[in-house]
């Protein structure tokens, strides 16, 4: 959401986010639909990976999708136009300085955003303010230290930890998924329900090995190589050895597990 956004904005990253969106749609979004005529704020839409899914799944709801990056918004807009979607309005905005009045939206949707913020609870409270009473908020976040795999490998965990630390130094929290339940309560939401969504990948799913283990997760770790090394968080050789062990877990007799968390909650009546 700002200059310190660790995933970068390059072409390869864009591709990664597309792969991720494709492979994970069912797992993450199957239970999210919005009624006709409802106004939904999507926060931190980026290049529109989730926007397309949301807008297609709820064709009669009206989406306002915001991001701080004009370039990302441009790509997101191109994509929704190419897909023939007419129920999304894009606006450049900062989550901490929203140009909306209180109670402007029926629902709020936040996906892969809180992990990058130094003040996620405050962000949630701001979003609660633009939500109407009894409106819902949906938050989806990953948790990089939920990762485990076979064969297990301590150096691969060290490489993952180096990304966790890069993200922490930038003010983020790559372990925020596990924390969603207390965070939502602290922000004052009611009826908080959190469910884990584990991506389990073994040799019976070569499509997921490719789309998730390699092109989503391992590509994300590889994307942090220069930052992690520049910040002296890990040696180049050790980092590369860890990445190699992640590719090993992506072979046909390997297993890979990663858990996303989805929280749905309600704003209380006044």
């Amino acid at each position: 959401m700002n200059d310190s956004y660790v995933h970068g904005y390059e072409a390869r990253e864009n591709e990664r986010l597309q792969d991720q969106a494709g492979a994970l749609v069912e797992l993450l979004h199957d239970d999210t639909t919005y009624p006709a005529g409802n106004l939904v704020l999507e926060v931190g839409c980026g290049v529109g990976a989730q926007t397309l899914i949301l807008a297609r799944r709820s064709p009669d709801a009206q989406f306002t999708s915001i991001d701080i990056s004009a370039e990302s918004l441009g790509r997101a807009e191109q994509k929704t136009a190419a897909a023939g979607l007419t129920n999304v309005k894009f606006e450049q905005a900062d989550i901490f300085d929203l140009p909306y009045k209180s109670e402007s939206f029926d629902h709020v949707f936040v996906c892969f955003v809180l992990e990058h913020l130094s003040h996620p609870r405050e962000a949630l409270m701001i979003l609660k303010n633009v939500l109407r009473p009894s409106g819902t908020i949906t938050v989806i976040e990953g948790d990089h230290a939920s990762t485990f795999f076979y064969p297990d490998n301590v150096v691969a965990h060290a490489a993952i930890q180096s990304l966790v630390k890069v993200q922490a130094q930038a003010g983020g929290n790559a372990l925020i998924g596990r924390q969603l339940y207390p965070l939502m309560l602290e922000a004052g939401f009611d009826d908080v329900k959190v469910s884990p969504r584990m991506v389990y990948v073994d040799g019976s799913r070569p499509d997921l090995i490719d789309a998730f283990t390699k092109k989503t997760f391992t590509a994300m770790i590889e994307g942090a190589r220069e930052s992690a090394i520049a910040a002296d968080l890990i040696d180049p050789e050790r980092f590369d050895e860890g990445v190699k062990a992640l590719y090993r877990a992506a072979e046909s007799d390997g297993v890979f597990c990663y858990t996303f968390f989805k929280a749905v909650a309600r704003k209380s009546e006044p």
Copy 2:
């Protein structure tokens, strides 16, 4: 399955296994039922925690439940008798020296057993031998290093790792859950399907906090205290600090995650 069984056979352990069985029945066993008249071998039934569930869920199947411990079998037998179940026969037997002819059973069921064996693949091949062609095998195992929690705590992970090491020194593998898919393939089974079963516990589930986080998982870690310290795998102070951090994750604003794995596979036609 032998003298080095790390969980011990004391009363408290017995109680723990009962709590575990109660809280996890749905998550682990909901999709396991056997047809009327089918013969099912339950391997390593212990004190009968799973036996009761199996026999109740498939009242017209015939179970043969084996264990190496006569004492455990006695308790299991008492329990099934007290529950009025008449479709279970208990027999004392060693998985590596089974008193059954080839193809004696329609199905095999194994729960929390492979983690204690130094040769799990060989055990699976022996079980394949007593299974009829196109019969099924169901294997359920935990994975102690799948554990993560909020607040995260490095000392709690060290305490967990000390149990993992105790189990490894006894020839077992506390991380076997993630490995089920390749293991079943290596043992020669067909149609191997593995699904993760995550126990997710937050403040909305005080029953699970009590039954799983405290009385199952943390009690199991505490049960390894003397062995881990005697084997010089961890300092007493560090161990106790780790256990304290696990109880911290069991408070109402804490979160706890643990993943079991369930594999179902088929013996190929000759």
